[in-house]
């Protein structure tokens, strides 16, 4: 096949993290227009621009002007490192500790990593988009290396020796010629170090080469692991403050419902209960969660609501199609369509899903002298602070957001509504207030992963080579919307629509939907071309671009480890094998899946997943394997069962009993292999490993049943939803 130039410009709307924020306004001058989607949840009309994808390192690189903003060396030798990222369970705390220890040349136990306290740390942006590894780790390494260089310089000056004769080992600066040693702690005690750390960061600092790594590249466990197994770690929802009270917020009975009236008297009549209404916001505060629940129930009965029609999940995809921005575009490749040997056009559906982290949204808010401190579970501490600034008309120095390591996020905790609600209640109570969303609130009122309607059309020539490619994602986003294959003329686009639910980021966001559609479509095209799915992909991955080679490498490795070429020949009508690959955020993944079909019950089980993943030089192998395992199993959720059902603005499966996330019994045999590439820069690995499992599973069903899969969750032909 000839590599053909792009005849058509690819138009991809870059909306990687289009999280809708709640437009609370509790300032004195209420803004004129706030779109209301339910009491307690007023949502700004249009998504804010991306916060998570600050290319080139985030705001920190502009903000951190000296070593002191990042690193403090205590007289006890403890090195405190300050970073704006959040530990969500993805392993940032370990990785950032490794980065600092590596460059400072101190044992990891000497590093104390302070994360995500806006009163102490620099703004390193949202913890999203797999940016900690490629952006923040280098910033920490450079600051740590700069600190080490400054300590060497100061020691050399104190001794009056040439700095080239001084070396650093184990947190000590050593001058072997004169047999003199100064520990970091001894050095840090001096004015000269304080002065040096206040100087501007040098623009270019050399960091350790991969082959010199002693700490990076090893499997450092999570530094605060012991506190997790003893229950000592306080998650945001565990924070206790003196005189703290418990809050509850009134939620609407349905999406788009508007509060007309409510009587707060029944709550106010209860002992020690405070009830507050501020426009559409209604909440109560009480000395215990139970009392707060009782008070809320008492006033909820008096509430009158105005509802408006809302599309149901049954009609979701029609609704998205009817409301596509600018209408559904036509395939521009008329010549290819006319001359094609074969052409295919298919539509793919991916429903709304919830993140459902184990820890629901939670916040403790405390006002003191007009200043606000909030402990809360968010991936986006500085963005959160911004939301609080807007809601209460405060300045950034009047707000401190503290994020103790949180109980899961998966892209679901970028917005600040829980903190704003807790702060509003705390203001009314004039005492610290703890607010924890219930599981039901989390299912209904947290933002969703956007549903996707995807249309794909492609043409093949007589040799079975792709000659054109037209791919339209409606509503879910532009992540990985472009095909990595050589397809001839191509156009891949993301178009927004009128989203019926509040939507936002999710682990790899739209890359999962786009890769599901693309990779399922590739198997249909392979079948049309009469080609094996592996051979068909490899034939369209033949150019010399590094990206193509990296994708090819993971695909070939997965096929080899899975023994694809043999297993695909086996003739067992109840066993299916499928494969898929993809790339996103600079990393590469391929998966092979085996399923077993129970014809009598018309269902199937996923028996074996073999996945190969490559994200450059591996920083922490054990943590990366855990992330890949978690991503595969989490990805099985929407592949097998997860979908949010709604009608008349009401969620119909807002519980773990009805919205079925993966459990232990869903874990297949896992065969995970990391392709370490020490020659390439490290990129994040917590997200992309999720994108291959659903299409590989779909393709296994296609192979076993002969019926192509075009919807998630993936069901056998004729089977009913779980």
């Amino acid at each position: 096949m000839d590599p053909s130039p792009l005849d058509t410009q690819t138009a991809t709307n870059d909306l990687d993290e289009p999280t809708e924020r709640v437009g609370y306004d509790f300032g004195l001058n209420r803004r004129a227009f706030v779109q209301v989607l339910g009491a307690g949840l007023a949502i700004t009309a249009s998504p804010l621009p991306a916060l998570g994808q600050q290319r080139g390192g985030g705001r920190a690189s502009d903000q951190v002007r000296n070593v002191a903003a990042r690193i403090h060396i205590g007289k006890d030798g403890v090195v405190t490192v300050m970073c704006g990222k959040v530990e969500i369970g993805q392993g940032a705390r370990a990785e950032l500790t490794q980065a600092a220890a590596e460059e400072l040349r101190v044992p990891v136990g000497r590093i104390q990593m302070v994360l995500a306290d806006t009163g102490l740390v620099p703004d390193d942006g949202n913890t999203a988009g797999s940016r900690t590894t490629p952006s923040t780790v280098p910033l920490i390494r450079k600051a740590a290396a700069a600190a080490r260089n400054l300590l060497v310089e100061v020691a050399a000056q104190r001794w009056g020796v040439d700095r080239g004769t001084v070396e650093v080992r184990d947190g000590k600066v050593i001058h072997a010629l004169s047999n003199r040693t100064l520990s970091y702690a001894e050095l840090a005690d001096g004015e000269d170090v304080t002065k040096a750390f206040a100087q501007a960061l040098p623009p270019d600092v050399t960091v350790a080469a991969v082959k010199e790594w002693k700490v990076l590249g090893t499997s450092l466990p999570r530094p605060n692991a012991r506190d997790l197994v003893t229950g000592a770690h306080q998650f945001p929802s565990d924070i206790q403050r003196p005189d703290m009270l418990y809050g509850k917020v009134l939620r609407a009975p349905a999406y788009s419902a508007k509060l007309v009236s409510i009587d707060l008297a029944p709550a106010k009549a209860m002992k020690d209960v405070i009830a507050v209404q501020d426009g559409q916001f209604v909440g109560v505060v009480a000395p215990s969660t139970l009392r707060a629940e009782q008070a809320l129930d008492a006033i909820a009965k008096t509430a009158k609501w105005e509802t408006t029609p809302h599309p149901s999940s049954q009609k979701l995809f029609d609704h998205l199609r009817e409301n596509v921005q600018g209408g559904m575009p036509k395939n521009p490749f008329a010549d290819e369509l006319a001359s094609a040997s074969k052409k295919l056009r298919q539509t793919y559906h991916v429903p709304y899903v919830q993140h459902a982290p184990m820890e629901t949204r939670a916040a403790v808010a405390e006002w003191k002298d007009g200043k606000l401190t909030v402990w809360s579970g968010t991936q986006n501490p500085f963005g959160y602070r911004g939301e609080l600034e807007r809601a209460f008309r405060l300045t950034s120095d009047e707000i401190r957001v503290i994020v103790p390591d949180i109980g899961g996020g998966f892209g679901g905790k970028h917005s600040g509504e829980a903190a704003i609600e807790a702060a509003r209640l705390a203001k009314a109570a004039d005492k610290p207030v703890s607010l924890k969303w219930t599981r039901e609130e989390e299912f209904i009122w947290a933002y969703f992963r956007p549903a996707a309607l995807i249309e794909a059309e492609a043409t093949l020539d007589e040799k079975g080579a792709l000659t054109s490619w037209h791919f339209i994602n409606v509503n879910s986003g532009g992540s990985a919307v472009e095909t990595p294959y050589r397809v001839g003329k191509r156009q891949s686009r993301f178009l927004s629509s009128n989203a019926p639910l509040r939507q936002g980021s999710y682990r790899t966001l739209a890359a999962t939907a786009n890769n599901f559609a693309r990779e399922s479509f590739m198997d249909e095209l392979a079948a049309a071309a009469g080609a094996d799915p592996l051979n068909f992909r490899l034939a369209h991955l033949e150019d010399d671009r590094p990206e193509t080679k990296r994708l090819r490498a993971v695909l070939e490795e997965a096929a080899k480890r899975f023994n694809w070429r043999e297993r695909v020949k086996r003739k067992d009508r109840d066993i299916g094998v499928g494969l898929a690959c993809g790339t996103e955020k600079g990393s590469y993944v391929a998966a092979c899946v085996e399923i077993a079909i129970d014809r009598a019950k018309n269902n199937y089980t996923v028996r074996h997943v073999c996945e190969v993943f490559e994200c450059g030089a591996v920083l922490n192998p054990a943590n990366l394997v855990a992330q890949v395992q978690g991503a595969i199993i989490m990805g099985l959720g929407p592949a097998l069962r997860e979908e949010m059902r709604f009608e008349n603005g009401k969620m119909q499966n807002a519980s773990f009993d009805e919205y079925l996330v993966p459990r232990f019994a869903d874990v297949p045999e896992l065969d995970i292999h990391l392709l370490d590439r020490p020659d390439l820069p490290s990129v994040g690995g917590g997200e992309t490993p999720i994108i291959a499992v659903a299409p590989a599973l779909a393709n296994a069903i296609f192979r076993a049943t002969g019926t192509p899969v075009r919807e998630m969750p993936i069901r056998l032909p004729g089977s009913k939803p779980a």
């Binding site: 197994v229 229950g231 969660t289 184990m358 899961g408 459990r663």
Partner: protein, 156 residues
Amino acid sequence: MDSTITFQLNGQSRTVTTDPERPLLQVLREEFQLTGTKYGCGEGDCRACTVLVDGRSIASCLTPISRVDKQTVQTIEGLATGDKLHPVQEAFLAENAFQCGYCTPGLIMGVVALLNEIPRPTEADIQTRLQRHLCRCCGYPNILKAVRRAAGRSTR
């Protein structure tokens, strides 16, 4: 009407006067500041709130405080002996059986209860018991390793 309930909590006698229907989970967290026991769903579907009552695991979010009157309650905070971790805690630590760690206390208590009831659990025993617990990070492979390790240790 409030009731007065007295129970053994992590080896100490405790008394609380409160609504008898108030969930044990809320009493542990709000009256005794034992926040190691977590709220996950309030419906017994995720078991992040697992504690032991007389050595058996229960979902504290669904258990009214009146049910533990004169009973013995053990939470994650009462599992280690001083600095010495319980073998199940050791096993979770050794296998890095957590990602965010929010489900960890409930899982550990669930496994302690399993080993109390069945000191030598089969693979099926383990699977059946763990099926109650949710981990949204889906760190199930390492959790399984930890439970197998703990189960092996308990047979010695």
